[in-house]
Symmetry: C2
Subunit: 451 residues, 2 copies
């Protein structure tokens, strides 16, 4: 299990490719798992990687191609002819093949599909292309094992030998009626322990979870995770069995979604990785920084307004506390929004808005009072006027409460309006809370200190 790509190995392979030493290359990669091959391809330049793809058996390379990052895959496929791409697609599961076709230039999509040997495979890929990306239809594969209720176990096993050739993992056997309507499932275990002449109708389980083809991907992931499913059949609106979603795709989906949310919270819009180009990284990061800049410029206006009163030494000192207030407003807002966004995603935000409001205010009061006490101790050490220390503590408390409320309710409102609440985490919340926080801070201080 301890597969490691070493520099020596890479340079040896590069040397073999340079010498066109196909025999050694085939021998070297013979035993490779496709996921390891993918990691290897990622280390080579496009030309070398293409050489390997063309050389090695497409049974292995097709799976490896699927494991590559989208941009690496695109560069690779650009070097292959439509015939060569079709050869890879022939070996792929239908859902993977459809994903690859969707990534190709529209100009060559048809030509590639026309070159696929297996006509049924090609048709199925075309069918999958008609579904939305993040729907059950977009996630499912056509490969599955399907039997009829009026078959016997012996007939079923015969038929399965044939069908199973195309199915990597069988999971469940789906039972349909003559029209193809999904009516139940059969576990391999039950099939194995039944006599040959038993009718399927006697042993199948008539309860089977399924989703319709346009069910949202998030919902598919939620169902499979909640019910610990490893495969979930997909039906059309008449209940006809169309395909199935398998857990390996859902694992990738869950991880991608988590990474997207994480990046969004950090102010990174596009899906990028540490090794992407500077241009891609800038495109993902700059927009949020511009938002932060505008927020900062907005606070310049607020501060200029109060700047005229700076002759008052207490007002002057307030300015020293603006970064503190902005930081507290930002941090509290991010905390509140993160908890609510996760709660919304996991469907655990229950109870009325009022009870949530009371909770957030209560929580902020506790945090604010604790932090306020620290500020007063700080003021004591620094020999500040007690009225001044109290002003800072009290306005900070207010800022914390407001920041928590903004952090909580902006995502809830967005969610109710059907907008992904995750965009309200990170820079969006910190920027707006900075502005509100600084404004409130000076305004409350003005009320208390009467300047």
């Amino acid at each position: 299990m301890a597969f490691q790509i070493t520099d020596e190995l890479v340079s040896q392979v590069e040397q073999f490719i340079g010498q066109q030493n196909d025999k050694e290359l085939v021998k070297l990669f013979e035993e490779y798992h496709f996921a390891d091959l993918a990691e290897f391809l990622d280390q080579l330049d496009t030309k070398q990687a293409t050489y390997l793809i063309k050389l090695l058996d497409s049974e292995t390379t097709s799976d490896a191609i699927m494991e590559l990052d989208e941009d690496v895959r695109e560069r690779l496929l650009d070097n292959l002819s439509p015939e060569e791409i079709a050869e890879e697609l022939d070996e792929m599961k239908t859902d993977d093949a459809a994903d690859v076709v969707a990534e190709l230039d529209e100009g060559i999509q048809q030509e590639v599909i026309d070159n696929i040997d297996d006509e049924k495979h090609a048709e199925e890929i075309l069918e999958l292309l008609t579904y939305e990306d993040d729907s059950a239809g977009g996630l499912m594969a056509k490969e599955l094992v399907q039997v009829m209720e009026d078959w016997t176990v012996a007939g079923c096993v015969r038929e399965m030998r044939d069908q199973a050739k195309n199915v990597t993992r069988v999971h469940s056997i789906y039972v349909t009626d003559k029209e193809g309507k999904l009516i139940g499932r059969l576990s391999l275990k039950d099939l194995l322990t039944a006599t040959e002449r038993t009718q399927i109708s006697e042993i199948y389980i008539d309860k089977v979870d399924s989703v319709t083809v346009n069910t949202d991907g998030d919902e598919v992931a939620r169902i499979m995770q909640k019910y610990d499913l490893e495969a979930l059949p997909v039906v059309d609106h008449n209940g006809i069995l169309l395909g199935r979603v398998t857990i390996d795709d859902i694992v990738d989906y869950i991880k991608d979604e988590a990474e997207k949310d994480y990046q969004l919270a950090a102010g990174i819009t596009q899906e990028v990785e540490a090794d992407d180009s500077i241009f891609q990284l800038t495109k993902a990061r700059l927009p949020w920084l511009v938002l932060g800049l505008f927020g900062g410029l907005a606070s310049v206006f607020i501060l200029e307004d109060f700047g005229e009163l700076m002759d008052d030494p207490q007002v002057k000192r307030l300015f020293f506390f603006t970064p503190l207030i902005a930081a507290m407003a930002g941090n509290v807002g991010v905390q509140s929004s993160a908890i609510i966004v996760q709660g919304l995603a996991n469907d655990i935000v229950k109870g009325s808005l009022l009870s949530r409001l009371i909770k957030e205010v209560g929580l902020s009061l506790i945090n604010g009072l604790a932090l306020g006490a620290l500020v007063i101790i700080f003021g004591f050490i620094m020999n500040y006027d007690i009225a001044f220390s109290l002003t800072i503590a009290l306005s900070m408390l207010t800022v914390i409460i407001i920041a928590a409320l903004i952090g909580t309710f902006v995502p809830i409102i967005l969610d109710k309006r059907g907008i992904d609440p995750a965009i309200a985490t990170g820079p969006f919340i910190t920027t707006s809370n900075d502005i509100f926080g600084i404004f409130l801070f000076f305004y409350i201080s003005k009320l208390i200190l009467q300047f």
Copy 2:
């Protein structure tokens, strides 16, 4: 699939429980999936939930208990006698049962285990308790189907019927030698398509991925995800088959880890949910806010230092820009750290530190120049002195570069020292970047504007 808990349903169940109408309750929950029952239990108070647990068949309730949040489960089990808990454990998979036992008060653990009917089950649970929580041993279950290489297919099927009773999903059949050493695997598909008298040794696949019992959970998740495995056998250091990890546990593991990282980035230390108590939420949030407070107080010192020069109108105006600078430093730092932390987790931070340094500086230069241009336009509109605008733009550019470097290299250094780099995202980075940013901003401005 559209299971929904309605208020009416909850109040009806509460009424049935009040009337001790067991017949209606059993009828109502007969058809429930354990995951739905868990959702339901979560809606009831502890007393009502306990009533249901005692009433319903432990085959369903045991699985439902596993789906509950840890704190809800603890409250529930507190109301059950050791005998009743043992009855639930009897129905659980060994890994789940071991998790539950580990959560119990130490005082009753032994009594609970002594009450488990199936002695082998009890022994296996005790064995699992000896492994580290987040290791392959802590994640694995003892349930699996194991056959010997010298058996025939017929003998294998006979034996499997017996073993499979305890195994919810078979996935793979593991082949061992006489000592119990794992030597390969057999797919159900192959077993199904072989003749009865075939020897297992003729049809098994002698390549099988496995991990040793003390492999880290992250590594187990990475392997299962990379190689699209649905079950991964676990062996001791002599290669003896001990158990297997299944993908449903890994899905939960991946999701938990992602949520932990997300919360850490938002400055939330403990694992909490929106519906946790105010006390729990405070414990998770307050420490990071205190860190932010100390950071803010540190910047008070920096600003007081420059405050003496405030009679100069340009210095005064610089103060209006501190929130802007702090926000940019914080945002850039969070972006850089998020990308690097994800890269480290996914093992894609390649190349030398120098090349990463060059990349971050290049990226920051592009972002900083773009943002600086906007500041100069702003200054033009506001009729600022051009030297002043340039000072702001230039010091912001420097702050952005430094913030990006801190955001990038602090996680890398932590990672090299074996500390989870995720703690360097969020409040830690924003706080330290606030301080550095503000200091740099005034210092550079002082150099340029010569005050």
